[in-house]
Symmetry: C2
DNA sequence: TACGAAATGGAACGTCGTTCCATTCATCGC
DNA sequence: GCGATGAATGGAACGACGTTCCATTTCGTA
């Protein structure tokens, strides 16, 4: 009687959307390593095999999950005062997203050409011509921005992998700082010289500074 | 009688150096996914358990392998005409290394603070003060450079993962280009506009262009 | 020559992604 | 109304992996 061929078999029927939603919950609660087809099946009260009817494999699952949260993050952008501010805003929004959900950064760095990656390129590229970048350099400039942002994402995700429990970032920094301080001064004079800056730096500010460096470089092209 | 406690039991005795060497061979020949403790044991004509006497785990093995090839690559640097040329040379040497051995890029992006990562920061940092970067910004500048370089490394490694057989890079680009051309013009106007640049770009030139953007930005700080 | 520690290598464990397949259920032609 | 068809399900099973365990061998030393 019902015309929809996809009429649900039960109220809580499986669907790609529901699977991705559950996957995101697991990733947010317990991180990268906790996303398992068994854990996912358990949370959805089904078998692991059933999931494969809706999702090709684990990579596709992570791609869909990353695309979901990235699209949502990028959509939240109001209009900025200047093209430069617009690009900064996109970068910082992505930084904050990956700071909160490191698994996005890890996956994005591993598979850059997924839908989420395209959305990032598009969001970065729009304000670009207004910034004054010559049109023939646009490809090089967006990819440079994306490379930097995704690189920072990967490293942030790597940092987050060791110490998940909350306020231990300072301890981690202190540990790295003492490790650097113990380095051979003959082989690592430069690192020894910036130990203090390293110990006191703020990740978000560091990211913003690097982004500004690229933007300054772009402005010299105009 | 012999004073060395570590005297080899046989001529082809196991050692960390020999294990790392064999691991590098496997990685170079068959890529990331082929490095297995079983495959490694088979190549060394021993058991998987014996390897653990010399190496803590797989991460440590990859870290040692990456450190080996990165140190070797960085050591090959002659003196450059200018500090700017020196930094460009370090970047391009690393790009070529990772282009030839994508597994290095994949591991470096996943674990940035290993010995290899420190060597990269040191190599980038030395020419920096001569470039005119204010000393209080040195930390931000090196990490920005390293973030960009390691980001490009990760993406290059990701590209290499799909099509290992030699001269198919052009085909890959063409495939991505037609995919972009088929994108919804309403949602992706910018990407549609740079499809041609994307189809014709050269990876190494693109990398160099992004590096130059950052270096220009640094020079505005002086 | 006998002993203890370094070193070895193969078996075994637990977990993962994925495949397979018997079974269920809603739909559609008769 | 009623089987037939195919979408959808879920649990068992497969093969491979990283890692652990342990019986055994080998060597320096007493």
């Amino acid at each position: 009687m019902s015309k929809a061929p996809g009429a649900p078999r039960r109220a809580d029927a499986l669907s790609k959307a529901r699977i991705v939603e559950a996957a995101i919950e697991i990733l947010d609660e317990a991180g990268d390593g906790a996303l398992t087809f068994r854990a996912l099946a358990s949370r959805l009260a089904t078998g692991a095999g059933a999931i494969y009817w809706h999702v090709a494999d684990k990579t596709a699952l992570l791609t869909a999950a990353a695309s979901d949260v990235v699209d949502h993050t990028l959509a939240g952008g109001g209009d900025a005062a200047s093209p430069r501010a617009a690009i900064q805003a996109v970068g910082l929004r992505l930084f904050d997203l990956i700071d909160a959900r490191p698994w996005v950064g890890a996956h994005l760095a591993r598979e850059p050409l997924q839908p989420a990656g395209l959305a990032i390129l598009e969001a970065l590229g729009r304000p670009l011509e207004a910034l004054g970048a010559p049109s023939r350099a646009r490809f090089e400039v967006v990819t440079a921005l994306a490379t930097y942002i995704l690189g920072a994402a990967a490293q942030n995700a790597a940092n987050a992998r060791q110490g998940p429990p909350g306020r231990v970032r300072e301890d981690e920094l202190a540990k790295v700082a003492t490790a650097w301080a113990g380095l051979d001064p003959k082989r690592y004079p430069f690192l020894r010289g910036i130990v203090d800056q390293m110990a006191q730096h703020d990740d978000r500010e560091q990211f913003r500074a690097g982004l500004n460096l690229i933007l300054r470089g772009v402005e010299t092209l105009a």
